[in-house]
């Protein structure tokens, strides 16, 4: 068994005669252009390997002609691979018999197309039920299931209409319903929203994300729209000339683009929008520990003055956020030299923000808050602080 829901290993697709020769030459280090000139074969997909985790939205990006549409068709074998392997749940699709392939397609995978690819003579309901019909499910049962998915995509009242009576966005909802009806564990979406106008595209992205919350499926999503890729992708793979250039989370690609080709994709995007609390935070606020005994105000005050800081955070012995205190507040507490413990009664309670909170929400919290706000990791432990100054520095690009 291979790790990952979908594992692609050294996959090649060569168009033209003598594919094996072309692959051999390519492995020797010949460029795509040289292979074309010498053998007449076009290398569509060249030595691509990657792995998609269960439940992940994996976005394939690239300019037109970069081989991304070919690559996804190699995964469900609408196009025969010339070399390499594709494992789905550990089964090698590239080596399956025709019958096994048909059974896999009926049972566990479906596809959404750029041009929607609905059958014009079928009603919306019959289109949505298509996959089930092909799999031999009886009329009553498949129509019931199709109606359920039409409801999920908000089209139940259009069930008896024909595709040409619907708008583009609605047609693609039918395409999505058709793909969901077979209840696949994985879906392949080929530029599924590219033909829609920007508003409808966003709406469909939201719908997809909503559907993912209800039932997490593994999705390979082809796109040439970087905003779309960053919005919906858990990870993004960038293709160029049939090769995979870089794979990573949106943030990894923004932070460390492998080359100019990748960097160019992000040029048009305001990448700050995709910053999260975890990336914004720093260790800029001094930490004091409340280990059963609250820290002494005098000590904290002295330390803050030494460090030239205005705020301190207090955490408990388990490194959980306890409270915040400002230098001004301490000054009031210890006025006249009296001693004071910084316990629950004097510190300021702030709800910490999680590391994955997006920038816009972080800004809202900072506006509401006088001082810096604490950030906690997935385990609830304190991991850093974000102040207004820190935020501005980070957004300017350090």
């Amino acid at each position: 068994m291979k790790a990952g829901k979908i594992v692609v290993e050294n996959l090649y697709k060569v168009f033209g005669n003598k594919p094996q020769e072309a692959i051999a030459k390519s492995k020797q280090g010949w460029s795509k252009e040289k292979v074309l000139a010498e053998t007449g074969a076009v290398i569509g997909v060249s030595d691509v390997s990657f792995s998609v985790e269960e439940g992940e939205i994996f976005v394939l990006m690239g300019l037109s002609g970069s081989g991304k549409s070919t690559l996804i068709r190699l995964i469900n074998r609408l196009i025969e691979p010339s070399g390499g392997d594709v494992f789905i749940d550990g089964h090698n699709v590239a080596k399956m018999s025709n019958a096994e392939l048909i059974s896999l397609r009926r049972r566990d995978m479906s596809m959404v197309f750029q041009s929607f690819a609905l059958m014009p003579s079928r009603t919306v309901l019959d289109n949505a039920a298509f996959g089930l019909e092909v799999a031999g499910i009886g009329r009553k049962e498949r129509e019931k299931r199709a109606m359920e998915v039409l409801k999920e995509v908000g089209l139940e009242t259009f069930a008896q209409m024909h595709p040409h009576e619907l708008s583009g966005g609605m047609q693609q909802r039918v395409g999505l319903a058709r793909a969901l009806a077979v209840d696949p564990s994985m879906m392949i979406m080929d530029e599924a929203f590219s033909a829609l106008d920007p508003l409808k595209r966003r709406e469909m992205q939201d719908l997809l994300l909503e559907l993912q919350k209800v039932h997490r499926r593994t999705i390979i999503f082809v796109s040439h729209d970087i905003e779309e890729a960053m919005r919906i992708g858990n990870r993004i793979a960038i293709m160029e000339g049939g090769k995979l250039v870089q794979v990573g989370t949106p943030q990894e690609l923004v932070d460390n683009p492998a080359n100019d080709y990748v960097r160019n994709f992000f040029d048009t995007v305001d990448t700050n929008r995709y910053l999260t609390a975890g990336q914004l935070m720093a260790n800029s606020v001094p930490i004091f520990v409340h280990n059963g005994v609250a820290p002494d105000a005098q000590v904290v005050s002295q330390k803050l003055q030494e460090l030239d800081k205005h705020y301190a955070f207090i955490v408990d012995e388990n490194n959980r956020f306890y409270g915040s205190i400002s230098l001004e507040k301490i000054a009031l507490l210890v006025e006249g030299g009296q001693s004071c413990k910084l316990d629950q009664s004097v510190v300021k309670q702030i709800t910490p923000v999680p590391e994955d909170m997006p920038l816009d929400k972080v800004i809202a919290r900072l506006v509401d808050n006088e001082g810096p706000i604490p950030v906690v990791g997935g385990n609830g432990q304190y991991s850093g602080a974000i102040s207004k100054g820190r935020l501005l520095t980070r957004m300017q690009g350090e």
Binding site: I102, S121, E133, V182
Partner: protein
Amino acid sequence: MSDKKLDLGSWVNDGVQHLLDNYSDGFDSIGGLVSSFSEGIEAILMLPPAWLLIAIFVGLGLWRIGARFAAFTAVSFILIVLTGFWEQTVVTLGLTFSATLISLLLGIPLGIWAAKSERVATTIRPILDFMQTMPAFVYLIPAAMLFGLGRVPGIIATVIFAMPPAVRLTNLGIRQVNKEIIEAGQSFGCSKTQLLVKVQLPSAMPSIMAGVNQTIMMALSMVIIASMVGAGGLGNDVLASIQRLDIGLGFESGMAVVLLAIILDRITESFGTKQSEKRGTLISWVSAKLQRQ
């Protein structure tokens, strides 16, 4: 004609004679089959009284096209009845239907085959060109020699003449189905048969129906010509009017042909173009039945 360098014609004569000498039993049985088939169709058309048959056509016109066309159909048929050409019109209709059905029965599967195989497509293309462009009268000679005079050679010649559009437009229709629709069919796990029946044929239906329409129109024009070998129907009157230089008879019988042609054309055309606009049509019903299987 002895000064010909290449006597292609005498080879053809010899060829037909050879067929006649050696395979006359085969032709007889084909002829018998065609004959009983077309007699059956004619008998069905003759079965209802004239007014009922007219009502059926008017009803079709009303359902498929609209009230104005239905009125036109009614007036046309009443005109034909009043001028005394009803019986011949029904015979012509029967011949047209017989030839059309045989053409479709052969032509549509051939078109599907051509769409699936490049080799078949390139092989039949010149044959179809030949069938369509050879002057229609020429078919009548071997047809009459092989099958004798009467309705059979008429129908056979008509089938040869009228079949090409059915083949061509079926082939074209299937080839023109959007590539992503085919991929959609495959990606949901269609077998080859399912892909044909559930995806390609329904999507190609408008084109196939255009082929059916063309076939009917060509069949109608050919069965008139086929009166030369004694096929019967309105063609007999047209032929008689030419022989007698009777312009009045020619006009009356010719008009009956024209009206019949318009009615058949509009009705069959409506099944192709309006398929996706009107719900509950015969075609979508048929394709729904096919898909259900």
